[in-house]
Symmetry: C2
Subunit: 313 residues, 2 copies
């Protein structure tokens, strides 16, 4: 993140602001007494704790998923935590659509065939349009996924903790409705934060509610799926395929089972970031939040540390 990124984003800022950019703990200490808004990556923040900035009001984290900072007992009282939900929406949603198309076209198996220099006759796959997609987690990425998937002709069911209508979902149900929608699902996409409510949400029992041809995509957090239960079902042909960008333990070691699970395509936690646009997106989102705060409105990215997700998600 550079001065230029901030200058571009802050053109829309409606309150005065003095900017300091630092890259070390010492840089922070030099300005800590005056800081009221701190922007940091979850990795960088760790080194700054405990936060000794008496004027501090807002800590804005540059990731959408900030579960590695849980438990949030390090947040001083009265301070609002913001995540960067929204900065990854388009890239993440594009990844999910790619993964759905790869599953419909049997790309996980074709990748193995290419590595073995094998031409597979008759590996036609199927058309994606008309399929039923269930998106679990209808935040910024999940919501954008619904929009793109609908544009490609899929029928989308949304699942979220606090269900309310979404313009591109045929229906939105709560977590208590999940079991009922899984049997009619051709593809399931998970775009969930990790917290107590999402821990292994797709466990073995729920995986077995999916039809045998179903495909699964996970771009949220690995621990929202029972990973070994999923791998067992893929290897046994009990599920059609999966594309996973997130895993229980990252990075995957060379001997990890995921690399050789049948009909599974692995990507290295890259789905949601586009380095060429993410800094400006993060800062635009921060500016939107600061403007809302200045007008006395709720900040859209306020993070509920007790629930482990955005307060209004």
């Amino acid at each position: 993140m550079t001065q230029a990124d901030w200058q571009a984003a802050s053109a829309a800022l409606q309150v005065p602001c003095v900017l300091s950019i630092g890259s070390s703990v010492e840089d922070y200490r030099a300005v800590a007494a005056a800081v009221d808004v701190l922007v940091a990556s979850p990795l960088g923040l760790w080194d700054l704790l405990p936060l000794e900035s008496p004027a501090l009001k807002i800590v804005s984290l540059t990731w959408a998923g900030i579960d590695r900072l849980a438990p949030f007992d390090w947040v001083p009282p009265g301070i609002t935590l913001l995540n960067a939900s929204g900065a990854h929406a388009q890239k993440g949603a594009e990844y999910v659509v790619m993964a759905l198309l790869m599953l419909a076209n049997r790309v996980p198996a074709l990748a193995v065939a290419q590595a073995g220099h094998r031409w597979v006759d008759g590996a036609f796959g199927r058309t994606l349009a008309g399929s039923h997609l269930t998106v679990i987690g209808l935040g910024a990425i999940g919501g954008r996924t619904a929009t793109l998937a609908r544009a490609l002709g899929l029928s989308v069911t949304g699942v979220r903790a606090n269900p309310r209508p979404h313009p591109d979902c045929a229906r939105v149900v709560g977590l208590d409705g999940l079991d009922a929608v899984l049997p009619g699902t051709d593809f399931v996409a998970l775009a969930l934060p990790f917290n107590a409510g999402t821990d292994r949400l797709l466990d073995a029992r729920r995986l077995d509610l999916l039809p045998r041809h179903a495909g699964l995509v996970n771009i949220g957090r690995g621990r929202t799926v029972d990973e070994n239960a999923l791998f067992d079902r893929l290897d046994a042909g009990r599920l059609g395929g999966a594309v996973l960008d997130v895993f229980e333990d990252e990075p995957l070691g060379v001997d990890h089972r995921a690399w050789r699970t049948r009909n599974l395509f692995v990507t290295p936690h890259m789905s949601a970031d586009d380095p060429s646009t993410v800094s400006s997106s993060i800062l635009s989102i921060l500016v939107d939040n600061l403007n809302a705060h200045a007008r006395g409105l709720p900040m859209p990215n306020e993070f509920d540390t007790a629930r482990g997700s955005r307060a209004r998600a």
Copy 2:
């Protein structure tokens, strides 16, 4: 193709029809004298030549690309040839969109990493929305590709022999405009028939007009690109990547260079077929053509044997 497929499709047929289904040359000979419309795959047709059906008016082929039947001197005078352009539009267009997303997300390189059990840090790729796509060949598949790509936020330039506006293309140019659009192209997709006018249309000189980051997708015919010139540029990093479903010589042998070309993902000529829907699509298209013919209108799938493409493409 079954009696049931035909019964479903022929509900829309506005002229009387007696159907015979056969699976051998003998089956054909038994009814040849009375046949006025013959439906055949290019592979099956070959065994029926010369066609000895005095009443024959229309030969309807079940493939969109029928270049392996060229030269078309076997077509008896006065007989109209139809191809199956349209039957593959949705599946083929979905494949192109998948390939674009795979290129934006560097999936060809990630597939190699998975085969080697290697986790690649920082392999983020880029957002596809906002990119410039050039679709060469704006027939049924190319046209549908433009529609889906635009829905995902791409800006689409169409290139076709007889340029005319397309609702989802920002502009459509003729083949004489191709050189001028290539330098501003992020992704180029080829959906062309093979004929004298498309033979190595993307030759080394034109490949060098593309920017270094550009990605290429080919779902038409392998010989519309200079394959070795493309492989040279991929291996040298002079182009960003490619996803190819068609090749000069298919199937690829185990030692073919394509399998190990850098940033190239290979699929085995499966992009455009969906076995679960293609028969009914082909027959629906035939019914549309027969209805047009009965009303004295041009048949949309009439094939121009001299040009090697649809008459109105």
